[in-house]
């Protein structure tokens, strides 16, 4: 095992083509060739970003475009098999990273997974349970009204669902606000040097918020479909 680890390290430390020293770079500084991807790279380090949660969307896009121009398989058609492979690995990693990090929710989810959190089960916030119960009843009412095709009842059920929908949307907006506040807290902890004891409560809260959020957004989706 130990031997395997050393080998891996060695492979990472030198260029795959010219054996010059080049740890953790996209291109070898000596021969300029694109380097194969190591299995350990995460999206943040791949993009050269610290593990902060607040990031500038315009700058992320800029770096996505600029790295795309460096990695894309289009530009490696005449290169060796190994370089083509490396270009494919780096550009798919880049695309995957951009997709995960560009949105607030997916970025938080990704950070949680890096910190060892499993994707939390979707569940409603405790104070929403009653409301959810009520909502399901109204959805059933609408379905029944549609089935027996009574115009008046359909209209009534519909407008009460519309109302519920806007309250759920307000709820989502509120969760997003709280998420942003947590982002700020996380970034502060990160700046100060990441004490594990400080990190955990913030990540726990974030995980819980995300679970609520995905529950509610699924609910919104279902209701919209029914409407």
């Amino acid at each position: 095992m130990a031997e395997a680890a050393t080998n891996t390290e060695k492979r990472l430390q030198t260029c795959a083509f010219c054996q010059a020293r080049c740890a953790d770079v996209h291109f070898c500084p000596a021969c300029r060739r694109i380097q194969p991807l190591s299995a350990e790279t995460d999206f943040f380090s791949f993009l050269g970003l610290p593990r902060r949660l607040r990031l500038n969307a315009a700058e992320l896009e800029k770096s996505f475009y600029s790295l795309s121009r460096q990695f894309h398989p289009d530009y490696f058609m005449g290169a060796s098999q190994a370089e083509q492979q490396a270009s494919m690995e780096r550009s798919s990693m880049l695309n995957d990273a951009y997709r995960a990090l560009r949105g607030n929710v997916t970025r938080a989810q990704y950070l949680l997974s890096l910190e060892g959190y499993k994707e939390a089960e979707k569940k409603p916030p405790a104070d929403l349970l009653e409301e959810v119960f009520e909502l399901n009843m109204r959805v059933e009412e609408l379905k029944t009204a549609k089935r027996i095709a009574v115009e008046g009842e359909i209209g009534e059920a519909r407008s009460s669902l519309e109302e519920a929908l806007s309250s759920l949307r307000a709820r989502l907006a509120e969760i997003d606000q709280r998420l942003l506040a947590l982002f700020e807290q996380w970034d502060d902890i990160f700046e100060r040097g990441n004490a594990a004891s400080e990190k955990k409560p913030v990540l726990d809260r974030m995980s819980e918020l995300l679970s609520h959020r995905s529950y509610i957004s699924n609910l919104v989706r279902d209701i919209r479909e029914e409407l």
Partner: protein, 627 residues
């Protein structure tokens, strides 16, 4: 893999990469020259090759394009058109289509459709390969050197099997397919709306058989697809079918049941309504003139107004709007945020289509470029990028359909969502369920629905050679990668031993590598025949030139230079050659060309001498003048 040199051997290999639009109705090839992208035309100036293949089993004769199309009415069972609709499909997928085309489907068409033509069976990739080979030859002739690398376009909404089938077709045609590019994206390259710093562009592409909508963000030369959607089963063919169904009914009432079932009548109606459809884009009224030949009986004229036509197709046009709205939603945009709308595909010439698109996006769509050529031009631009010609442009396309794997209870777990920028990848961890299990089966699907039965099965993989261990202990990481062509590759790694795992792939639809190898050999046989055909054409051409020269010499110059015997010998040789040209034997033609050469050799010499004398005389005169 061996690439068959289809009769172009001896010519230098070219580093050129061409762009090919392999369309449902027409196909064409383009390249980037000094003056930008341009399509390659034949001797008579036509860029479009009708996507029709004719095969006569008895004569073992293969025709592609216009010539094949000419035989649709006379020999409907020997020609295949709209083959693109059958690419990457199994027998069960195409029942509906088969009601509307007179093709005979071979038995055993479950995984790949086979068209029965005489004793031979051709799959859609093979039929497409004949078309591609024709385009390849056209390009090779144009450049005077063999073209062997191409970019081929496909509808953006094509799934993995359809893309793979297209790539297979290229391979069978002796082309190295450097990239499969989505048609709407290619079109956006050709339009090159890069005059602005930044723009959101919607490309509405309604072709012969398929519909695509793609929404792109253009910024600093990067063409980033934000969302794509479509219907691979909606196009001009479907519009034609509405008219065909109507006129078939009328033919039936005019001439009885039997004529409606006659494929020749069907083709006559099809041709007439397509012409009428084209006219109705310009005129308010058109007449479909059905003429299936006197002996068939079904010859009549039918007036069609634009209103009637629009009434027949309005629901089909409406059906394109759903995917447009979905794409907008996926891109998180309102119609008002679209800066430009680009129209692609022949069916966008229809005024109703233009009207509805304009209403949806609230702006006048671009129709400046020829909608039949714009995709090929874009493919040529992408080909130029791949050939290293330019680095200022970059296409970032997406996968149109979500990729998932089957989990417990027939539910699909999505691992790569639709509209993810490609290349895209996802890794999943697998383990064993029982002790000492040495293989794991994985079922990969494409589609948006929850259940396996509602998605498109792509392939079943078996991870093999897992060392016997207690259940749950092995940790096999499987990496799914969708490459820049939108085609899936799968690799697996045992995380405990770091060994790469062998994977056995059973594609659910499509050809296996062995089948393709076999077809390559098959097409080699054809290549032999094709060489003979070309030799015949070349010999005939040369004969025509030689005969023309000899006739001219006899008529204008021979007077007084040769005697009657010699004149008779030349006339005889001319007649012999004329006779040979009427036959199919290129060697005989060559013989007779030589005979005519020999017979007229003396005359040619005399003419030459007198020409030299004349030239000398001229020269002396001019020397005198100079002196």
């Amino acid at each position: 893999m061996p690439v068959i040199e289809l009769g172009m051997s001896g010519r230098p290999k070219s580093g050129r990469v061409v762009g090919i639009d392999l369309g449902t109705t027409n196909s064409l090839v383009a390249f980037v020259g000094d003056n930008g992208p341009e399509v390659i035309r034949d001797e008579s100036g036509n860029a479009l090759v009708p996507s029709i293949v004719y095969y006569d089993h008895d004569e073992d004769r293969l025709l592609v394009g216009e010539e094949a199309g000419d035989r649709l009415i006379t020999e409907p069972h020997k020609a295949i058109y709209s083959v693109k609709r059958f690419m990457g499909k199994g027998g069960a997928d195409v029942q509906e289509d088969l009601n509307l085309v007179p093709f005979q489907i071979a038995p055993d068409s479950e995984q790949v459709i086979g068209f029965q033509m005489g004793d031979r069976v051709f799959t859609p990739p093979e039929i497409s390969a004949f078309i591609l080979r024709d385009l390849k030859r056209r390009a090779s002739r144009f450049f005077g050197e063999e073209v062997s690398q191409a970019v081929i376009t496909v509808p953006a909404y094509f799934n993995d099997a359809q893309r793979q089938a297209t790539k297979d077709a290229g391979h069978l045609a002796g082309l190295e397919v450097l990239r499969i590019v989505n048609e709407p994206t290619a079109a956006s390259l050709a339009y090159g709306i890069d005059k602005r710093d930044e723009a959101i562009v919607a490309v509405y592409d309604l072709g012969g058989g398929t519909f695509d909508i793609s929404i792109l963000k253009l910024k600093d030369g990067i063409f980033e697809v934000l969302a794509t959607n479509g219907d691979t089963h909606l196009g001009g063919d479907d519009l034609d079918n509405r008219l065909i169904t109507l006129l078939l009914e009328e033919a039936k009432s005019r001439t009885g049941e039997s004529s409606a079932k006659d494929p020749a009548v069907f083709q006559a109606i099809r041709r007439a309504v397509i012409e009428a459809k084209h006219e109705l884009s310009e005129a308010e009224v058109s007449f479909a003139v059905i003429d299936s030949g006197a002996e068939r009986g079904a010859s009549f004229e039918r007036k069609i107004t634009r209103d009637e036509f629009e009434g027949l197709i309005v629901d089909l046009v409406e059906r394109t709007l759903g995917p447009c709205k979905q794409a907008l939603k996926d891109a998180d945009l309102d119609p008002g945020q679209i800066d430009e709308v680009v129209m692609v595909g022949g069916s966008t010439r229809i005024p109703l289509v233009r009207r509805r698109v304009k209403e949806l996006f609230k702006r006048e769509p671009h129709v400046e470029l020829n909608p039949d050529e714009v995709v090929a031009l874009g493919a040529a631009i992408q080909a130029d990028v791949l050939a290293g010609g330019r680095r200022d442009l970059l296409l970032l396309d997406v996968t149109p359909l979500s990729l998932g794997i089957e989990t417990m209870g027939g539910v699909v777990a999505k691992i790569i969502n639709r509209n993810s920028t490609i290349p895209a990848s996802a890794s999943e961890m697998f383990t064993t369920w029982v002790d000492n299990q040495t293989g794991i089966d994985i079922h990969v699907l494409q589609g948006e629905r929850e259940m396996v039965d509602d998605c498109r099965s792509l392939a079943r993989f078996t991870l093999k050679g897992i060392p016997p261990q207690p259940a749950g202990l092995p940790r096999i990481e499987v990496k799914f990668l969708i490459d820049a062509n939108g085609i899936l590759t799968v690799s697996a790694r045992d995380l405990r031993t770091a060994h790469e795992h062998s994977i056995e792939v059973k594609p659910s639809y499509g050809l296996t590598d062995e089948q393709i190898e076999k077809m390559l050999l098959d097409s080699f046989e054809f290549a032999e025949q094709d060489i003979r055909r070309r030799q015949l054409v070349e010999a005939r051409n040369e004969a025509t030139t030689v005969m023309h020269a000899a006739e001219k010499a006899l008529a204008e110059r021979a007077q007084g230079l040769i005697d009657e015997n010699e004149r008779a010998a030349i006339s005889q040789a001319l007649d012999d050659l004329r006779g040979a040209v009427g036959g199919e034997d290129h060697q005989l033609i060559r013989e007779k060309i030589k005979a005519l050469d020999d017979a007229s050799h003396h005359l040619a010499e005399i003419i030459m001498d007198s020409a030299v004398l004349a030239a000398l005389k001229d020269r002396k005169a001019s020397e005198v003048a100079e002196g």
